[in-house]
């Protein structure tokens, strides 16, 4: 290389690096000293970094660093600090009733924030991220509640579930009628049920017969006028909301095999304040009743 260095650019009198492209030679304009030293300093800094912080992966472990810092411990510390910070509010949530919470703007805000996270973790898989529901899973935004939409009702549902095996849980189901009713009777009563909410009926459907079947078999739970009964979670058949769908085939299918979706029991799985926070949050979706 020394050979190549012995070149001076005639025009500027500056040495060249000896690199040449198509007759153009590169002038050697070295970096200023401070620049170079800054570069060296960053290298030294990086070595210091390797020593001070955990950096190098070993076979089954990694270098620990000088002060035992690791990001996992830092996260644990942060979480502990967070719990300590939230502690007093969580205690207030635990001891307050849902009615108390609804009366305190400060508690409502805190409960909603808690509820939003808990809902996404526990409820969204069935009810949807915004409580929009799905076939068989109630929409929590509408104004139709099978078991009641007051704060206390919602709290009770979350806490003990529906048909979830808890003694205090909500019970009652739609029994299968395939051994009780004949196909024609089921067809007629399905058309009758559709007529209750103003849906068109099939041509040739005997609504009178359907009404008779309804009075004999369904009115016990759904009421004489089909308005439903929250005691047993029987849906109101006169409104426009159909949990499983309003087409005739779906209704007949429900008649034949019965219905009985399960809401899990959350008491014991979620903490006291979180259950209340969830009740407040779900109430706030817009379907809750005063």
């Amino acid at each position: 290389m020394a050979e190549e260095h012995k070149q001076i650019d005639a025009l500027t009198g500056t040495a060249t690096t000896g690199h040449e492209w198509d007759g153009l030679r590169e002038l050697n304009t070295p970096l200023p000293r401070w620049w170079l030293w800054t570069f060296y300093l960053t290298i030294i800094w990086s070595i210091g970094y390797w020593v001070v912080y955990p950096a190098w992966p070993l076979v089954s472990d990694a270098t620990k660093g000088m002060f035992g810092y690791n990001s996992r411990a830092a996260v644990v510390e942060d979480i502990t600090a967070l719990h300590a910070m939230r502690g007093p509010m969580m205690q207030q949530l635990a001891s307050a009733s849902t009615a108390d919470i609804a009366a305190s703007p400060q508690l409502i805000d805190f409960a909603r924030a808690q509820g939003r996270v808990a809902f996404a973790d526990n409820c969204a898989p069935c009810h949807g991220a915004g409580g929009g529901g799905a076939k068989g899973y109630p929409n929590l935004n509408d104004d139709d509640w099978l078991w009641g939409g007051k704060l206390a009702d919602i709290e009770q549902t979350i806490r003990f579930g529906i048909r979830g095996g808890h003694d205090s849980g909500r019970q009652g189901n739609m029994p299968p009628f395939k051994d009780v009713l004949k196909p024609a009777e089921m067809s007629n009563v399905a058309d009758y049920a559709r007529s209750l909410s103003g849906l068109p009926t099939e041509a040739g459907a005997d609504l009178k017969a359907g009404q008779k079947v309804f009075a004999d078999n369904c009115a016990v739970c759904h009421g004489d006028a089909g308005k439903g009964n929250r005691e047993v979670g029987a849906p109101n058949l006169t409104d426009k909301i159909w949990l499983y769908g309003s087409d005739k085939a779906t209704i007949v299918q429900g008649l034949q095999n019965g219905r009985g979706g399960v809401m899990p029991v959350w008491e014991g799985r979620l903490s006291e304040p979180v259950i209340k926070a969830l009740a407040v949050y779900v109430y706030g979706f817009g379907g809750g009743e005063k």
């Binding site: 005639a10 040495a15 007759g23 200023p32 000293r33 949807g128």
Partner: protein, 504 residues
């Protein structure tokens, strides 16, 4: 052999050929250093027009920087009374009568555009004049050089003292210099933090040790950078760190005023004595006497007589220095002057020199500045003191109620920029028959549902809009939200959509 291969072969032959330029006298340059050692510059003091302008600019800019945080501005009881304040904790920026919210940072974008185009315009008119007079690096370096001359003496004295063995006095003078430099640096850092908190309170807290750690940290950082950049790195910042000299070459043109050595008048250089002899013989003699004053006063240590170059910051000190010499010699001044390349050419051709202020380039820059500034002023003048933004619920997009009507949910954020609490109602237009519910907002005693937003605050409300019309809904209907201040009637509006099942 393909054409490509032929080309490659030719280029190899060329590379192997001996260098066309002959080696110069100092041939032995095997040990080229890895770094370029700094050539220390001892700028000499100078008096004159441009020096006076520079002192004035220095006093004004530094005066503004150091004293602005202490200017008070009465905004009423709930707002800070500092004229210029960047309030990070409360996310507000105050500039005299203007109060900016975080969502209004586009004003900052506008300012940056104005600053950039302003710099371009300055450049088109007079080259790197920003660098010579207004750049913070220049201003602080100028101040630091003044301190250096005060403690260590002017160029000659300074150089002489450093070349001789250092005495106690040398150390004392250098010590004094660094102490004064650090004081200025510390004051610079101190003034910086005052822009982010109530200045008088912070000064007291800083003095008593009660200020937040971050304030001390910033003072420390800026003390260090000021001391390092203005004291020790000086022209190195302009030559190596600053991107502007690299960009400005593309922005300047032959019409721009640049510090120019009028070689048409100055060359050939010779002593005053020899010039007289030459003139007596009727031969041509230049005005430049090669006294090197222009080089000695240059803060970046360049020789302007070599022409326009990257190191020149257009400060004009060489003009002052040269003018002083020319005046002494009884020759016309402005051998070095702010001039254009075109003018030199014009004079050589015997044409009068001109300066064209209005050109395509300057007109375009001025137009952009006018438009951007106008848009900003308009936006500032017409902005309301209330604001509304709406987010539609995504899941579910719409809800069918038991009576068959449709409902959409929205999260509305209401902004109240006034310093008093205000009551708002939200109205919706665009649907046949609607009802608005505010979730979790109990009606007042008079039955009205009002959203109360505190002074200088925002509030988020969830709103349910129900369409009771029972008409077959469109998949999407455009609707207009109006936020109405019930006292003043001020309105802010935003458009959104009302969703329903697709029409079949």
């Amino acid at each position: 052999m393909t054409q490509l291969e032929e080309l490659v072969r030719q280029s190899e032959v060329k590379a192997a050929a001996p260098p066309p330029s002959p080696p110069s006298a100092d041939d032995d340059i095997d040990d080229i250093p890895l770094y370029a050692a700094r050539r220390k510059i001892y700028p000499q003091s100078v008096h004159g027009t441009f020096r006076r302008i520079k002192w004035a600019v220095l006093l004004i800019t530094l005066g503004i920087y150091y004293l602005l945080p202490f200017v008070r501005w009465d905004r009423g009881p709930n707002a800070p009374s500092q004229a210029v304040l960047i309030d990070f904790p409360n996310r507000r920026f105050y500039f005299f009568f203007i109060e900016l919210w975080p969502q209004e940072v586009y004003y900052l974008t506008g300012l940056l555009i104005l600053a950039a185009i302003g710099l371009f315009l300055m450049n088109a008119l007079a080259g790197r004049v920003w660098c010579g007079y207004l750049c913070p690096q220049t201003v602080w370096t100028d101040l630091y050089m003044a301190i250096e001359r005060f403690t260590e003496g002017d160029r000659r004295e300074h150089m002489k003292r450093e070349s001789q063995p250092w005495t106690l006095e040398t150390y004392a003078r250098k010590g004094a210099k660094h102490f004064l430099w650090l004081m200025v640096a510390w004051w610079t850092g101190g003034a910086w933090v005052l822009y982010f908190a109530d200045a008088p309170t912070l000064v007291k807290d800083l003095a008593t040790g009660n200020a937040p750690f971050v304030a001390y940290a910033w003072i420390g950082i800026l003390t260090f950078t000021t001391y390092a950049l203005a004291g020790h790195m000086r022209e190195q910042v302009c030559l190596y760190m600053c991107p502007w000299p690299r960009i400005q070459a593309a922005l300047t043109d032959e019409y721009a005023l640049n510090v120019t050595y009028r070689y048409d008048r100055g060359e050939p250089r010779m002593s005053a004595k020899k010039a007289e002899q030459m003139k007596a013989h009727g031969e041509r003699a230049g005005d430049c006497v090669d006294c090197l004053q222009c080089v000695h006063v240059c803060p970046t240590g360049i020789d302007i007589r070599q022409g326009s170059q990257l190191g020149c910051i257009q400060c004009g000190l060489c003009i002052d220095a040269c003018d002083n010499i020319m005046a002494k010699l009884g020759r016309p001044t402005r051998l070095i002057a702010y001039d254009t390349d075109l003018n030199i050419k014009a004079r050589q051709e015997g044409k009068p020199s001109t300066y064209r202020l209005i050109r395509w380039r300057t007109s375009l820059y001025a137009a952009i500045i006018a438009v951007a500034g106008g848009v900003m002023l308009y936006a500032l003048a017409t902005r309301g003191s209330e604001g509304i933004s709406v987010i539609h619920d995504r899941n579910p997009m719409f809800v069918r109620l038991s009576d068959g009507s449709l409902r959409n949910g929205y999260t509305i954020r209401i902004v109240n920029k006034q310093l008093k609490s205000r009551d708002f109602i939200v109205a919706v237009e665009g649907l046949p028959s609607t009802l608005i519910d505010y979730v979790g907002l109990p009606p007042r005693a008079d039955g009205r549902q009002l959203v109360s937003v505190g002074p200088d605050q925002t509030k988020e409300v969830r709103v349910l809009v129900t369409d009771y019309s029972q008409t077959p809904p469109a998949a999407s209907t455009s609707i207009l939200f109006s936020l109405i201040d019930i006292d003043s009637g001020a309105v802010a509006q935003v458009r959104d959509h009302f969703f329903g099942p697709e029409r079949r």
